[in-house]
Every structure is written in structure tokens, then in C-alpha cells.
């Protein structure tokens, strides 16, 4: 009887909840409360590009956005000083710019442009955006993106409290000056590919308060599209912004982004014609879509060796150069990537992402390194290195300390770990490497705490060799290897102070060479991903760096 009543009450509650649901979900912009019918059905004549991805942006607040999806959406809603499009930096709100001879002062001349409500975009909007990004009151996880700017780190740390001292100022309404701490050759590229520097209008942002960037009414656009509706966890609807300065070049009437957590569902939707493109084909599906294209994913995959070890015993082994080399030479990177990572991964044993710019072409081609591990590995050499290591340490193969390989609790990472541990067992006869499978936050915690010996890492390559190489300098917060080498530190720091691009890149190459020779890391691959775009959709760019999807000038033929 009692449970019967409970059941009836529960049923009643569900009913009440269901009745109120039509009002609850439509918490996006005003107007569209017809139950979320998809856009194409209502407006058949419109050109809408529809796509889907696994998760929605955490926020569209440019000062706080961290995920790629937020970056992709903001690329279409906002316009910064410059854009990255067609493989190069192109003017955005800045019509042109000048760089001082010492490479530390940038002057941007802004074009006449307006926000979606018709108010002009001014240099002050850019100043406000940088100050807000850095302000300790904002709590932005991306604030260090702006650390190249004069006094930015000091203001963010609280050492300076006056935002006026940050090296960004408006010379007049349409002239912006940015002063840097030191010359930063990749500064324009970083500015054009980052999502953290889009302009923000102070009056609007302050009125929205902490809600800025969480809904359509609390977002202000100055880009090719404006935010029409954001149904959380369901969809984001963008429509063409007629007030965009280059609106004539924008052919689409809108872009609809759908949140679909399951990758196979996205494929089904593509097959069913419900989406126009698939940003990233799930592994193994490439063959089903022969017209797919492949792009750099923008990450480097590598092994991190904890040179101090997870404990003193393990530290003896891990701190030994010959032992680390043995591990690295034992890996057949070609077979390993094909079987355990992805058919698309490009095997490598150096740290030179193919998208890093060199002098006229790619850094990777113009600045070669020596003594890299053969991509197929070298079992004989690997065993020689191991013998040398054991001789130096006075150990034998069957009495080695246990080494901990920390793995994400995630199928792909476990396959990778199995494959590597298996290669080390087969090639080197090592039976002392144990996998420790941990949930992602705990695994990362173990990394920061140095509670690992071996770790498979994938890290964003960034837009310049320096941005990757600086992570391995002594005491850097992300240098989990505990490796500390004054020679390397000096090479990296001095390289970046060089003004001549050829000298600078050559010095960075020397640093990379050092990293390869001392092997606290072992590079394994540059990751790639495959995407498909429906026939009849043109002008869609899916690439690295910058936003993954660049569809501002796309067109759709039904």
C-alpha cells in the first residue's frame, strides 16, 4: 500500500515535470519557443550549414573559453585583430599593422567595423578584453596566453594592481598599441589562432555580469555570424550578421551546431542527411567514407620518462640515459602507431610538428636533426643500450626494480599501453614494467606529483617550436620528467631572444637536438584526424592551427 502510494506520487511528479518542460528547455534567446524544431524545416530556402560534435562549449566568454568547440564557435561569432584562414594570417578588424624594429611594439590600425547592435568596434574594446583576461577577478584558465604582453604576468599575479600598466593601450579609437615583454616572433600567429583575444565591449559585458557568454542574450557578436539561440546541451544556432564589415562575402544564412555526445550517432546523422559534415571520423571508419580528407590534429604524441623515478629504486633506472634510449629504440613506431594508435598517425622520433613555420616552408624540412631513432626501431641497438645501462648500474635483467606506467582509464590509451609494454617485453625482455590504470583526473594528478615512471602524453604542438620546447626547461610547471639541464635551458631561452628568424630557428633546432640526445621524452607520432563534408558544401576549411572548423565563407547547395 505504502509503495503503491509512492509510485502514484512519483508518477504525478513526473507528469507535473513533463507539463512544465516546454517552458524549461527553451532558455536560449527570446522568440523561438516552438519546441526546438530544426531550422531547415521552417526555412527551406535558407542556406544553413549543420554540424555536430560530442560536447558543447563550456562557455562562449572569450576570456574564459578553454575547449576547441568554444574556439570554433567564437571563430564564427567574433572577429579579432586578425584571422587564421587559408593557411595564413589575414587581416580582421585590424586593416594593417606595424612592428617596431626591436620587435616589441605592435601598432594595429583598425578598420571601420561595428558590433551586431551597430555600435562601432574601437581599440578600447581590445584593451578591455586583454585586461579582463588578465584580471585576477576573472579567474581565467587561459590568462597565461597573454603573458608575452608587457607586465601581463605581473598584473595577473597581483604584483601590479593597475591595469593601465599592462602593455595594451588605445592610441585613439582606431589605433591599438601592444607592447611585449621581449620580441616574440610568433606573436601575430598566436594572436590570430587564439580564442582569448577577441574584443569585448565593456558596457555590455559588465551589464551581463557573470552571465556573459552563457546564452544568446548575454553575448555580443562582431563577427560574420551572431548568436541567435543556445539551447544548452542541445544546439547552438548562429545566423548571418548583416552588420559584419565583410558581410557581402558571407554566403551562408546560418550555422547550426548540434551537441551529440556519441560519435557513432553523428555518423548515423551524416548518413541520414541530418548534418553536413563530420569533424572527426571515429577511428576505423575512414574506409567507409572514401572521400574523407585528413588533417593535422595539432598534437604531438610522446612518452614522458620521469628521470627522478616514482621511487629512488626506479629513479636509478629512469635517470640512466642508456636505459631511456633502450626504451625508445625498442619501439617500432610504424607498427605501433598503425596497430595501437590510428592508421592516420604519422610516426616520428623528433619534435618538429609539420605545421610549424620555418623561413619559407616548414621548420621540420628546413632544420633537420641528427641521431633520431629509426621509425621502425632498432632492436639490436636497443639491447646494446640496455646492456650498457645495466653495466653502469650493476644490475641484471631479472632483478630490475618495478617501473610504473600510468595509463588513463580509457580503451584507446590502454591499447597503446599494452602495445608498448609488449614491445619492451619482446625486444628487451623487460618484465618489470607494470601498468597502473587510473581515472583521467587521478592519472594527471599522478603526473604532476611525479608518481609515475612512464607516461604516454599527447600535447598541443602550438604554432611555434618554442612553445613546445619551453615546457621541458628546468622547473617548468608541465615538465613532469623532472629533467633539469642548464644546457637545454640556455638554448631555449637564448634562442627566443634572437631577432633574426634564421638564427632563432637554428638555435631552437639545437635545443631540439639536445632534447633528442638526452631523451627525457621519446616522440612517437603527430596525430591526424579524418573528416568528411557532404557533396554540395563548399568553402569549409577543417584544419590546424586555430579553430578546427573555419566555415565563415562556406556555401551550401541543397
Amino acid at each position: 500500500m505504502r509503495k503503491l502510494l509512492a509510485g502514484l506520487l512519483a508518477l504525478f511528479m513526473v507528469f507535473v515535470a513533463a507539463c512544465s518542460s516546454s517552458g524549461g528547455t527553451g532558455q536560449g534567446s527570446g522568440g523561438g519557443s516552438q519546441g526546438g524544431g530544426s531550422a531547415p524545416a521552417e526555412e527551406p530556402a535558407e542556406k544553413i550549414l549543420t554540424y555536430a560534435y560530442n560536447f558543447q562549449p563550456g562557455t562562449l566568454d572569450t576570456s574564459r573559453v578553454t575547449d576547441n568547440m568554444g574556439g570554433d564557435i567564437l571563430y564564427h561569432l567574433s572577429e579579432g585583430l586578425m584571422r587564421f584562414y587559408g593557411g595564413e594570417v589575414v587581416p580582421g578588424i585590424a586593416e594593417r599593422w606595424e612592428v617596431s624594429e626591436d620587435g616589441t611594439t605592435y601598432t594595429f590600425y583598425l578598420r571601420e567595423a561595428t558590433w551586431e547592435d551597430g555600435v562601432p568596434v574601437t581599440a578600447d574594446d581590445f584593451v578591455y578584453s586583454v585586461r579582463r583576461l588578465l584580471s585576477p577577478d576573472t579567474g581565467s584558465p587561459m590568462a597565461d596566453q597573454a603573458y608575452d604582453i608587457l607586465n601581463a604576468a605581473a598584473y595577473h599575479n597581483g604584483e601590479l594592481t593597475d591595469p593601465e600598466q599592462v602593455g595594451v593601450r588605445a592610441l585613439d579609437d582606431r589605433t591599438l598599441e601592444i607592447r611585449l615583454e621581449r620580441p616574440v616572433p610568433y606573436f601575430l600567429l598566436a594572436l590570430a589562432t587564439s580564442s582569448s583575444f577577441y574584443p569585448l565591449r565593456q558596457d555590455f559585458v559588465e551589464q551581463a555580469g557573470s552571465s556573459y557568454g552563457t546564452s544568446a542574450e548575454h553575448f555580443l557578436s562582431n563577427g560574420p555570424f551572431r548568436l541567435a539561440e543556445w539551447q544548452h546541451e542541445a544546439s547552438i544556432r548562429m545566423v548571418k550578421n548583416e552588420r559584419y564589415w565583410n558581410a557581402d562575402a558571407v554566403k551562408l544564412d546560418g550555422i547550426t551546431f548540434l551537441v551529440v555526445p556519441d560519435s557513432n550517432t553523428i555518423l548515423n546523422m551524416y548518413d541520414n542527411g541530418e548534418v553536413d559534415l563530420v569533424l572527426s571520423l571515429p577511428a576505423g571508419h575512414e574506409a567507409n567514407y572514401p572521400d574523407h580528407e585528413v588533417r593535422w590534429f595539432g598534437t604531438i604524441a610522446f612518452l614522458e620518462f620521469n628521470t627522478a623515478g616514482s621511487n629512488p629504486e626506479a629513479g636509478k633506472l629512469m635517470g640512466n640515459l642508456n636505459f631511456r634510449k633502450a626504451l625508445s629504440y625498442a619501439i617500432d613506431r610504424v607498427a605501433f602507431n598503425r596497430t595501437a594508435v590510428s592508421a592516420l598517425a604519422e610516426p616520428t622520433s623528433r619534435f618538429a610538428h609539420p605545421t610549424w613555420p620555418g623561413l619559407s616552408g616548414a621548420y621540420a624540412d628546413e632544420f633537420p636533426v641528427e641521431n633520431t631513432v629509426p621509425l621502425e626501431g632498432d632492436p639490436e641497438l636497443a639491447n646494446q643500450f640496455l646492456e650498457a645501462a645495466l653495466a653502469e648500474l650493476g644490475l641484471s635483467r631479472d632483478q630490475l626494480p618495478t617501473l610504473t606506467y600510468v595509463v588513463f582509464e580509457q580503451l584507446p590509451r590502454r591499447m597503446i599501453a599494452e602495445a608498448l609494454v609488449d614491445q619492451w617485453r619482446q625486444v628487451l625482455g623487460l618484465n618489470n614494467i607494470e601498468m597502473q590504470v587510473l581515472p583521467i583526473p587521478q592519472a594527471i594528478q599522478a603526473g604532476f606529483a611525479g608518481q609515475f615512471d612512464i607516461y604516454y602524453q599527447t600535447m598541443s604542438a602550438g604554432v611555434d617550436p618554442y612553445l613546445f620546447l619551453v615546457n621541458w626547461t628546468s622547473g617548468h610547471g608541465l615538465n613532469w620528467t623532472r629533467w633539469s639541464d642548464p644546457t637545454y635551458d640556455a638554448l631555449v631561452v637564448e634562442a627566443n631572444a634572437l631577432l633574426d628568424p634564421a638564427e632563432r630557428l637554428a638555435a631552437l633546432r639545437d635545443a631540439e637536438q639536445r632534447l633528442i640526445d638526452v631523451a627525457p621524452l621519446a616522440a612517437t607520432a603527430y596525430e591526424r584526424s579524418a573528416h568528411v563534408v557532404r557533396e554540395g558544401v563548399t568553402g569549409v576549411e577543417i584544419s590546424f592551427p586555430g579553430a578546427g572548423l573555419k566555415a565563415i565563407y562556406a556555401d551550401v547547395q541543397r
Binding site: M1, R2, K3, L4, L5, A6, G7, L9, A10, L11, M13, V14, A17, A18, S20, S21, G24, T25, Q27, G35, G36, G37, S38, A52, G58, D61, R64, T66, P136, G139, P141, A143, H156, S210, S211, G213, T214, Q231, H232, E233, A234, S235, L258, V259, V260, P261, D262, T265, N268, M269, N272, E274, I440, P441, Q442, I444, Q445, F448, H476, G477
Partner: protein, 306 residues
């Protein structure tokens, strides 16, 4: 009666307090922090964010703070969904999960009852066997497989229904079926077993001796009495459906609660995970409280004994 109500109310509040406290302690006992994500942040930056969100203060201080806000009905701001309050997120997601659950129940329960009755009436016949096999299948096929198959056939191959998303009634059909089919199966089984048990009771024999027609016996005595255990089981079933299903919501891209539940714990979004726990706990406690009250009204003995 008033004293009884006050009594129950106090017990309910104590339950909620205990739930919130335990969840708070357990969540914060998990290693790691919300800023240790795959997109690595330097320890300095993590520290700065910890202090921005007040997570660097002593745990008891955070606890008092949280409880203070909770008393005012404020569940705080999500860490992962920057600048969105947990109250807002629940207000948006709960109605979706709840209505999906309702759609499923609306077809699954009557259908299960019907199958159960038919199966029991045709006991030992081919129809009974096929229904039993179906029920076993329905209960053992995992929902992710069922959902994927429905999607593939009805969505992609035959293009009858949308593959995913939420909005129009057509969007609700496949997920409601995926969510409801296991329920059909379990209700069928329970109802069948219950029907067969009732049939051997004395009052059925009495009814037969009285000369009632077969249909009358089945309808007035057998089904009615067989329903009781089924309805008893409906309580937890409904609660389960109401909370939303991680798997079904994930596959059909439905913006419901189920996903938030799993994701918030995995990403250590303390406020979000706590808020959801407290919300669902409160729903259960409120339901029990109402049941207790109703019970007291129905059964006078309770008022006297307590």
C-alpha cells in the same frame, strides 16, 4: 497529527543534511582537482583557479559556505560549465529527462501488463513461450545495443525517424522505445508470475465454485490481485526512469540529467555533482515524506502509535 508531521519533517531534513554532508566529504576525498584536465594547466595556474573558486580554503570553511548557500536553495555555480548556476542547469535538464521517462512509462507499463496477462492465460502455449523468450531478451539486451540498433534501422536504413536530438514528438519515439523496452520485459515477467501465483489462491477457487464466468474471474479477481506486486515495483522503476539514463541520453543526444550526473563526477565538478545529488535526494525524500503523510491519513493507527 501536527506532531507527527513535524516529526516526519525533521527526519526528512536530517536525511537531506546527512546526504549533502556525506556527498561533500566523499567528493572532496577524491584525488585530483577540477583543473587537472587533459588540457594541462601549470600548477601555478591551477593554484590561482583553486583560490578563485575558493577551493584552497580549509574544507570545513568550504563546507559551512556550501551549507549556508544550500539553506537558501542556492546550489552554486558549476566549475566546468563556466558561469552557469547548477540551479539553471537542473531546471533545463530535469524536465527533459522526466518527460522522456514519462513517455517510456506510458507505453511500457500497459504493454507489459497486457503481455503478462496474455502470457499467463496462455501458459504453456507457443504464444506464452514466445512472450517469455521476448521478455528474457528484452531484459538482457543492453540498452546501448538496443539504442544503436533502433537508430540504425529506423533512423538510417528506413529514414522513418530522426536519428537523434530532442524537440518534436518524433524525436522522442526512438529514445522512449529504447528506454521502455526493458521495462516492458520486466513488467511482463512480473505480471506473468504474479498472475500464475494468484490463480492457485483459495479465493479464485471460491469464485469458480460460485459459478462465475471465466472472464469475470480473470478480470475481477485474478488481474486485480496480481497487479499489487507489479505496482509495488513501479515506485523504484519510476524513480529510475525520472532520473534519466546516461546511455540513452548519450546515444540519442538528449539534453537530460543522466549525462550531467556521470560527467560531473568524472570531471570533478564538485558543485555540479553535489547539486545533482542533493536535488535527486531531495526528490526522493519529498516523495517519502508525502507518502508518509498520505499513509497517516489513510491509516489512523499510525497517528495513534507514533
Amino acid at each position: 497529527m501536527a506532531r507527527y508531521v513535524v516529526n516526519r519533517l525533521l527526519v526528512s531534513l536530517a536525511t537531506l543534511w546527512l546526504l549533502a554532508t556525506l556527498s561533500f566529504v566523499l567528493l572532496h576525498a577524491l584525488p585530483g582537482n577540477p583543473f587537472q584536465t587533459e588540457q594541462l594547466l601549470t600548477p601555478e595556474m591551477q593554484q590561482r583557479l583553486m583560490s578563485y573558486y575558493g577551493l584552497d580554503r580549509p574544507l570545513w570553511e568550504q563546507y559551512l559556505n556550501y551549507m549556508g548557500n544550500l539553506l537558501r536553495g542556492d546550489l552554486g555555480y558549476s566549475i566546468k560549465y563556466t558561469n552557469r548556476s547548477v540551479n539553471d542547469i537542473i531546471a533545463a535538464a530535469f524536465p527533459v529527462s522526466a518527460s522522456l521517462g514519462l513517455y517510456s512509462l506510458a507505453f511500457a507499463v500497459p504493454l507489459g501488463l497486457f503481455f503478462g496477462i496474455v502470457s499467463a492465460r496462455k501458459r504453456g502455449r507457443p504464444l506464452d513461450y514466445s512472450l517469455v523468450v521476448m521478455a528474457v531478451l528484452g531484459m538482457s539486451v543492453p540498452s546501448f545495443l538496443l539504442a544503436a540498433m533502433l537508430q540504425q534501422w529506423f533512423g538510417v536504413r528506413w529514414s522513418l525517424l530522426p536519428v537523434s536530438q530532442w524537440g518534436t514528438p518524433a524525436h522522442a519515439v526512438l529514445p522512449a522505445v529504447a528506454l521502455g523496452l526493458p521495462t516492458v520485459a520486466s513488467v511482463t515477467r512480473t505480471m506473468r508470475a504474479s498472475m500464475l501465483e494468484v490463480v492457485s489462491q483459495d479465493y479464485i477457487k471460491t469464485a469458480q465454485i460460485k459459478g462465475l464466468s471465466d472472464l469475470e474471474i480473470v478480470w475481477r479477481h485474478q488481474i486485480r490481485n496480481a497487479l499489487l506486486p507489479v505496482v509495488t515495483g513501479l515506485g523504484p522503476l519510476i524513480a529510475f526512469m525520472l532520473m534519466g539514463s546516461f546511455v540513452v541520453e548519450q546515444i540519442f543526444a538528449i539534453p537530460g540529467l543522466g549525462r550531467h550526473f556521470v560527467m560531473s563526477v568524472m570531471s570533478l565538478d564538485y558543485t555540479m555533482a553535489l547539486g545533482l545529488t542533493v536535488f535527486l535526494g531531495a526528490a526522493v525524500v519529498v516523495m517519502n515524506f508525502l507518502v508518509d503523510l498520505a499513509y497517516a491519513v489513510v491509516d489512523p493507527r499510525i497517528r495513534i502509535t507514533r
